[in-house]
Every structure is written in structure tokens, then in C-alpha cells.
């Protein structure tokens, strides 16, 4: 569980984080999205006790980062966006070193390391020198390292950045496994679709402020004040199109190329949505489906961050 309260970080006059409040429940996979320089890494560094906040605080599993940084470090597995590895150290020894750094006994390490290498598919690389591994392998090894003390909270800063599509998919698979293990995961990305699929909740950060938080659909509704809807008709699409076009709560209506679907933004609440459906049936529109859909996240993201810039 992570609780962030009024977290602020200033570098001189520049405000990297501006009174950030955030609650991330146990076992949640929280996606932190924002442009480069929006404050994601700053937040993560503070949570990892690598950076002192200017004001505000945060709690990781109930431990205050300001008062109990040592306890916090035991709770978290941290993977920075950029990291180096030691020369002339083998993958197995790499994990062994960090295991020792967490005070894990030699015997336990011997049991643990093969399991971790297995989890990140690096068993066959255990005798390879770390600095010679590919970027994707290094990222996976670093993830295995962050798991060595079996932390309940994982803080992963851009774990998939700079990876080719295949390595990205492998990384995603591993993260899914971790999610299934019940870890609380805080993960960041500047690429939204990368996150959407596996996150329970997404927070959009821009210029040090949290612009929106919730599931992807919720964020969209909150930000655009409307939800995306899609209806499919069996026939008479013109009549349906005209019906929806006349509704004042509907905007950005467009017809799909398949000739049977109409997509639009609907502003009303659940009650209004129910009324709309009722009206459709009363009008005897030839509906076969009437549903909310998730729009392209990138559109939402662009809209939010652009909005932030304008204001």
C-alpha cells in the first residue's frame, strides 16, 4: 500500500512535483503516465528514499519515508529508468551481491537465485557477464534483482523503455506474473497503451500534478465529461445516425466504415444513458448493440496533457 500526501519537490524555482496526493491500495497495479519531465521519476525516487521531498510525505506499507527510510527500503523493490551494471560480474553473482546487500543468507540466496532467473527467463545466462547482456536481458535481470528480498511493493520506472517489441512483450508477461503474485506495483511509462492493458488504475501526471486517476474509462469520462459509446444497427443506419445527431447530449458523432456502426461521445449519467436506450427502442431503431467503449488512450493522453499546457 502506498499513500502519498502533499508531496512536493522543488529544484530552485522549478517545481517538479506539486502537492501530489495519491493512494494506491494493496495488490493494485498502478500505472503512472506522463510526458518526460512530468514528475514520474521524481516521485519514484522519493518513494525509493533516494531523494528528499521539499514538503509532504509518503507512506509505504505504513512506514513513513521521512522517518523510517530503512524500513521503506525493505518494503520496496525499485527499478530505476536508467541503471548501470558492474563489469566482470556474472548474472548469478549480480543477484547474489544484491541478495547479500539485503542481508539474505548464503543458503537462501542459493535457493532463490535460480528461481528468480527462471522467472525472468535468464536461466541459461546465469554464467554470462552482466555487462555483455542485451538491454532487454539487463532490464529483466534488474527486475529479478528488485524482487530478491520479496518486496510487497514494486516501483518500476519505465521498465519497458528502449526495448524492442519482443522484449517488451516478455517484460509484460513477467509483470503479469508479478501481478498474479499479489504485489503492489507502481509502474511508469510515457507510452500509455503499454500500460493500459495490465494496470488496474492509471494516474496521469503533468507538470508535477496529478491530472486524473482511475480506470482508463473513468479517466476519459472525467476528463472529457463524456463516455465513448458505440451502437451497431442491422439496417437503416441513416435513420439511426439522424436520431443520435439530434440528441443534445451527443457530440463527435461519426459513422464507421463498416456501414453498421456509429460512435459518439455521450455526456449524460447512467439514468440518461438508460433513457437514451429506451428512446432508441421506442423509435424502433434496428439496434443490435449499444455499448460503452474504451477509446484510444493516446487521444485521451494528448488531450489531457495539452489541456495542461494551455491552462
Amino acid at each position: 500500500m502506498i499513500e502519498i500526501i502533499g508531496l512536493t519537490k522543488q529544484y530552485g524555482k522549478f517545481t517538479a512535483l506539486d502537492h501530489l496526493d495519491l493512494h494506491i491500495g494493496e495488490g493494485t497495479v498502478f500505472g503512472f503516465v506522463g510526458q518526460n519531465g512530468a514528475g514520474k521519476s521524481t516521485t519514484f525516487s522519493i518513494l525509493a528514499t533516494l531523494l528528499a521531498p521539499t514538503s509532504g510525505t509518503a507512506f509505504v506499507n505504513g512506514y513513513n519515508i521521512l522517518k523510517d527510510p530503512k524500513k521503506v527500503r525493505e518494503q520496496i523493490g525499485y527499478m530505476p529508468d536508467f541503471f548501470g551494471v558492474y563489469d566482470q560480474l556474472k548474472a548469478e553473482e549480480y543477484l547474489d551481491f544484491y541478495g547479500a546487500s539485503y542481508g539474505i543468507s548464503v543458503n537462501e540466496r542459493k535457493k532463490l537465485i535460480p528461481q528468480l532467473l527462471e522467472l525472468v527467463n535468464l536461466t541459461d545466462k546465469r554464467d554470462s557477464y552482466v555487462d555483455l547482456l542485451s538491454r532487454g536481458m539487463k532490464q529483466r535481470l534488474c527486475l529479478a534483482r528488485s524482487l530478491i528480498h520479496d518486496p510487497e511493493v514494486l516501483i518500476l520506472d519505465e521498465p519497458a523503455s528502449g526495448l524492442d517489441p519482443r522484449a517488451r512483450i516478455e517484460m509484460r508477461e513477467i509483470l503479469k506474473e508479478l501481478k498474479a503474485m499479489g504485489k503492489t506495483i507502481l509502474i511508469s511509462s510515457h507510452i500509455l497503451p503499454e500500460l493500459a492493458e495490465m494496470c488496474d488504475v492509471i494516474g496521469i501526471i503533468d507538470q508535477g500534478k496529478l491530472k486524473a486517476q482511475g480506470s482508463v474509462a473513468e479517466i476519459q469520462e472525467k476528463l472529457q465529461g463524456a463516455k465513448s459509446m458505440m451502437v451497431k444497427v442491422n439496417r437503416n443506419i441513416e435513420r439511426a445516425f439522424a436520431f443520435f445527431e439530434d440528441n443534445p447530449d451527443i457530440s463527435e458523432i461519426e459513422r464507421h466504415e463498416d456501414g453498421a456502426s456509429i460512435q459518439f461521445l455521450f455526456k449524460g449519467n447512467a439514468e440518461a444513458q438508460q433513457q437514451l436506450l429506451k428512446a432508441c427502442i421506442m423509435q424502433e431503431l434496428d439496434l443490435v448493440s449499444f455499448a460503452e467503449i474504451e477509446t484510444d488512450l493516446e487521444d485521451v493522453f494528448m488531450e489531457i496533457t495539452n489541456g495542461g499546457m494551455e491552462s
Binding site: 525516487s45 525509493a48 528514499t49 533516494l50 531523494l51 528528499a52 521531498p53 510525505t57 519515508i65 521521512l66 522517518k67 527510510p69 530503512k70 527500503r73 525493505e74 520496496i76 525499485y78 530505476p80 536508467f82 541503471f83 548501470g84 551494471v85 558492474y86 563489469d87 566482470q88 560480474l89 553473482e93 551481491f97 544484491y98 547479500a100 546487500s101 539485503y102 542481508g103 534488474c142 534483482r145 528480498h149
Partner: protein
């Protein structure tokens, strides 16, 4: 505190130290350099004395060898220690290390001991060269041990300064330059200032004998004076006469350098991780 042998940083550094050829070559060239100079000096002495062995000459040789080794150690130590933290920072491995539950003191001590251990190896590797000098007599094992102990002590103190600057200064190169600068001051600067202070004292000695405590204070911080004082106690007596302080110079040196050592380590441990500012 866990035993030093359980220190993860120390274990890793020991493991890695001899995986590269660099360290082997380091030992080779160190011994080679000292060896060539010692043999060269013996050769020159033999020439000038037309054969025959003189214990007084052997003693001179021992002193020169000690001073030489001392100079080399002071020259090498900053290079080996002033990068221990800053290079991890530059290679982006420091952040990860700092998020582990390893204590700051364990990291700092592990780093210091692992670099210093290599220097100790250099000193030990050079010991057989001393045996050449021993062959001719003129020195006692006690003197040899004292010089050895002073070398080890100095390595730790200079190493702690290197580690401290490495922790405080972001760039390795800047940390090294600073450490060399401070060492230059401690070795040369204090000596030079002590000389100036001495001449002032002598000048004002026309009337009643005056004493200048500054001479003592400067000499106390100067390692070469302490080293030479081991062989030539007359220097210490002279300083005591000029400064009016009769407290043994080498003890004052040990105390002042221990103070520097402890201060450097404490500051490094405090600085390594950011202060998270615990609010009351």
C-alpha cells in the same frame, strides 16, 4: 554491526579486483618500479664506496626506500579511493545500491577497506625488496615494522579522504583532483609552512629565545616529517625546542590523523544517502 567479512560490497570488490589484468599489472609495475630504484641505488652506492658494505649506507638506503614507498602510496591512494562512490554514481549503479537495506556505514567501510586492501597488497608485495636492504644490516626489524605500520595507517587516512571526496563530489575526476590537492597540502604545504614558521622563529631568536607553536602544529600534520623523525629523532627534538612543545610528535601525528580519518568516514556515511528530513 556485521563483521567486515560479511560485508557484501567488500566481498564483491574482492571478487572483481583480480578479474581484470589491470590489478595484476598494477602489482607488477609497482614492485618493478621500486625494485629498479632500489637496485639502482645499491649499484650507485657500490660504485661510490668502491665495494664493501657499510651498515650506515644500508640504513640510508632503507630510509630512501621507505620515503620512496611512502611517496608512491600517497600518490596511488587518491587514485584508487577517490572514485569508489562517484564512479558508481557515474555508472548509475549507486542508486540501486542505496535502495538496498545495506547500511551507509557498511557501504562506505566496504569500499574503503576493499581499496585499501589492494594498497596493502602492494606494500606486502614490496616487502621482499626490503630484505635486500636487510641483507646489509644497519636497521632493526622494529624500525621496519614501524615504517610498515605508518604506511598502513597513512593509507587508511588518505583513503578515507578519497572516499569522502568521492561521496561529496559528483564527478570522479573532480574528486581525485581535490584529494590530490589536499594530499599535496598535507605533505608539501604543511612542510613548507613549517619551514617558513621555523625561519621566522630563528630570525626572532636574536634576543630571548622565542617559541612558535605553529611549527609544531604544522609538523604534526606533516607525514614526511613524522616518517623522517622515525629515523632521525633529532628532527623531533629540534621541533620541540622551537615550538616549546615536548609532547612526542609522532603521537600528535597519530591523534590528528585519526581525527581526520574519523571525520572523513563520519561525513561520508552521513552524506551517502539524502537526509529525508524527519519532521517532529
Amino acid at each position: 554491526m556485521k563483521s567486515w567479512l560479511m560485508n557484501p560490497v567488500l566481498n564483491k570488490e574482492f571478487k572483481l579486483r583480480f578479474r581484470s589484468l589491470k590489478s595484476f599489472l598494477g602489482v607488477l609495475f609497482y614492485v618493478l618500479a621500486i625494485g629498479i630504484i632500489v637496485i639502482g641505488m645499491i649499484f650507485v652506492q657500490q660504485l661510490s664506496s668502491m665495494g664493501g658494505v657499510n651498515p650506515e649506507q644500508s640504513r640510508e638506503l632503507f630510509m630512501m626506500l621507505s620515503v620512496l614507498q611512502f611517496a608512491l602510496i600517497i600518490f596511488i591512494t587518491p587514485g584508487l579511493t577517490a572514485g569508489v562512490i562517484s564512479s558508481e554514481r557515474e555508472r548509475q549503479t549507486l542508486n540501486i545500491l542505496l535502495t538496498t537495506s545495506q547500511s551507509s556505514s557498511s557501504i562506505i567501510i566496504g569500499k574503503l577497506v576493499s581499496s585499501v586492501a589492494f594498497l596493502l597488497l602492494l606494500i606486502i608485495a614490496s616487502l621482499p625488496l626490503y630484505s635486500i636492504v636487510f641483507l646489509y644490516g644497519g636497521i632493526s626489524p622494529r624500525e621496519l615494522l614501524t615504517v610498515f605500520a605508518l604506511n598502513v595507517f597513512t593509507v587508511f587516512v588518505v583513503g578515507s579522504l578519497g572516499v569522502m571526496f568521492s561521496t561529496f563530489i559528483r564527478k570522479t575526476i573532480a574528486a581525485m583532483v581535490t584529494t590530490y590537492g589536499v594530499m599535496l597540502f598535507l605533505v608539501g604545504g604543511t612542510g613548507f609552512l613549517a619551514l617558513i614558521a621555523t625561519s621566522f622563529t630563528q630570525m626572532s631568536q636574536t634576543g630571548t629565545p622565542t617559541t612558535n607553536i605553529l611549527v609544531y602544529l604544522l609538523a604534526m600534520f606533516n607525514t614526511p616529517i613524522t616518517l623522517v623523525n622515525l629515523f632521525q629523532p633529532s628532527i623531533g627534538e629540534e621541533i620541540a625546542r622551537m615550538s616549546g612543545v615536548s609532547f612526542p610528535l609522532w603521537i600528535a601525528h597519530l591523534i590528528s590523523y585519526t581525527f581526520i580519518f574519523i571525520t572523513a568516514i563520519v561525513l561520508s556515511v552521513r552524506k551517502l544517502r539524502p537526509k529525508m528530513k524527519a519532521k517532529k
